[in-house]
């Protein structure tokens, strides 16, 4: 059993990265409007994050250094501080959205308005971080999140027209009534979501929490090889089932209820219950992932003790950071802002955060001082370089596209 649970870190990281509240809605929006014609972006994104998360995991296994320590060492104080600012704000905005997402999910489960749930959700996230052991946390959130597979099942039960599905995947144009820039906005949004920096912060720091060593290189491969493709599959399931239910009804998805409704249509109330459990686990998992990442990045930049394996008193700045972040998130949500809108603004910061996070990982994964003889092979390096270019292009294009399309409206 322990052997099977060992991939929980990859699964939780991927669920937090691919099916957090922002992605749940974005995937459904994209599905309802474009069908599966952006499936290729998910595939490209999965390959990118697999490459870089693997390199980050390898560096931890061989040198014990988590990603933000590397960023500081390679970029120096000034550039690293720029990245810290952008990544931290991005992660904090995502955390805010996730807590809102937990509240929205609890509303769908109970019918009670979400504002009432915000304090409960914040407290729950903090208690898990304060009291629960890392492995328990990742196993519970990762395993329960697997119930999101009902999205994929729904897609098949709803009975897609296979000829049409193949057409969507292979032919990109035209989408009547959609501006091409809108299409590209969602391309960049989906790619950016697949490569959000907090995934590698969490994955690498989680590997330190689990005390990965040289013998865990295989485990790193398994984690990224199973976790991220699974996350990608789930997001395709969401897009596919949203397309089949909403597109004929001429509905544009804008809320979480519209994301889960197709599963009810396909599988009835049992499916609905399963999907809501999955969404709760995914948003909770993503909230934990982002809250911890806020602490990880700041502590690793400043050289403070960090990690959940310590009792909180041994890593006070780390825990204070997390508490302050949770309070900010709770305060922002209490103003009644739409949590899903919050995630869309975090795209702004990706322009700085993405290149400055992934470039140092690639450099250090080739440095024998860190990884000994396990430096990247030429194929991995070539692929990683290609992705670095894609990352820079996507990051630079993100803001103009966001403004030009009015957030894809």
């Amino acid at each position: 059993m322990k052997k099977y649970l060992a991939v929980a870190l990859g699964i939780l990281t991927a669920i937090g990265g691919f099916v957090d509240i922002g992605d749940l809605v974005t995937n459904a929006v994209v599905g309802a409007r474009f069908g599966l014609s952006l499936a290729w972006v998910v595939v490209v994104g999965v390959i990118g994050i697999v490459l870089y998360a693997y390199m980050a995991g390898k560096v931890v296994a061989l040198s014990g250094r988590a990603t933000f320590e590397i960023i500081r060492e390679r970029l120096g104080a000034r550039a690293a501080l720029m990245n810290l600012g952008a990544s931290f704000l991005m992660t904090l905005l995502t955390l805010t959205a996730e807590i809102g997402g937990i509240a929205l999910t609890l509303q769908l489960l109970t019918g009670i308005v979400p504002l009432a749930w915000i304090v409960v959700a914040t407290l729950a996230v903090w208690l898990v971080i304060w009291l629960v052991k890392f492995t328990w946390m990742e196993n519970a959130a990762g395993l329960l999140g697997l119930t999101l597979i009902v999205f994929v099942v729904s897609f098949f039960v709803l009975g897609p027209d296979w000829g049409d599905t193949v057409d969507q995947i292979t032919q990109q144009y035209p989408h009547p009534g959609e501006h091409p820039l809108t299409y590209w906005f969602y391309v960049v949004a989906l790619f950016g979501a697949a490569m959000t920096p907090y995934e590698v912060f969490f994955f690498s720091s989680g590997a330190v929490e689990e005390r990965w060593g040289r013998q865990d290189l295989m485990l790193a491969r398994l984690n990224v090889g199973i976790g991220f493709p699974l996350g990608g599959l789930l997001s395709l399931g969401i897009a596919g089932s949203a397309f089949l239910v909403w597109s004929p009804e001429k509905v544009d998805v804008s809320s979480l209820s519209q994301v889960v409704l197709p599963v009810g249509e396909a599988l009835g109330t049992i499916g609905l219950a399963l999907v809501l459990i999955g969404v709760l686990a995914a948003t909770m998992g993503a909230a934990l992932e982002t809250a911890l990442s806020c602490g990880y990045t700041l502590a690793q930049y400043a050289g403070w003790p960090w990690g959940k394996w310590h009792r909180p008193a041994k890593a006070p700045q780390f825990h204070v950071t997390i508490i302050v972040c949770l309070l900010i998130a709770c305060g922002v949500l209490a103003t009644g802002v739409d949590p899903i809108m919050v995630t869309e603004f975090s795209v702004v910061f990706s322009a700085v955060a993405l290149p400055l996070t992934y470039a140092p990982i690639l450099v250090v994964a080739n440095d024998p001082e860190y990884v000994g003889e396990e430096t990247n092979g030429p194929v991995l390096n070539a692929l990683a370089l290609v992705y670095l270019v894609i990352i820079v292009v996507a990051a630079v294009a993100a803001i103009p596209l966001m403004v030009l399309t009015g957030l894809g409206s």
């Binding site: 050289g303 008193a313 006070p316 700045q317 204070v320």
Partner: protein, 124 residues
């Protein structure tokens, strides 16, 4: 282009201060993090070759960012002789509990985190 004098052949490792020292994590003798190297203080005896006198930890960030020199007594310094080894991090010979650098951590532990129930317990 003037050519730099050849590096003196010496036993041991050649270090580049920028690459191998600055912004590296500093850990104590139990591998617990202490701070980050933010600057180096050099000294030279009677015009001899300069050598590292102190590591400047953490707090010199502001001056590296904005220029200028903070007053010396504001710096958290660590004498070079307390450095035990260098690899991907800087290892010190001392225990972090003996150091002043972590006063803020101590303060938070005593006044904030230690006071919240469960703060001194291991996670389960």
């Amino acid at each position: 282009m003037t050519r730099l004098p050849p590096h003196p052949a010496k036993d041991g490792k050649v270090l580049d201060a920028n690459v191998h020292l600055l912004d590296r994590l500093v850990v104590d003798r139990n591998d617990e993090p202490v701070s980050v190297v933010s600057d180096l203080e050099l000294e030279s005896e009677d015009g001899g070759r300069p050598r590292i006198a102190n590591l400047v930890l953490g707090s010199a960030i502001v001056s590296r960012f904005l220029g200028g020199h903070p007053p010396k007594h504001h710096l958290d310094r660590m004498a070079w002789r307390k450095v035990a080894a260098l690899d991907t991090v800087v290892h010190l010979r001392v225990d972090r509990s003996e150091l002043d650098v972590i006063w803020f951590e101590r303060w938070l532990r005593r006044h904030v985190i230690g006071r919240i129930p469960g703060g001194r317990r291991d996670p389960e």
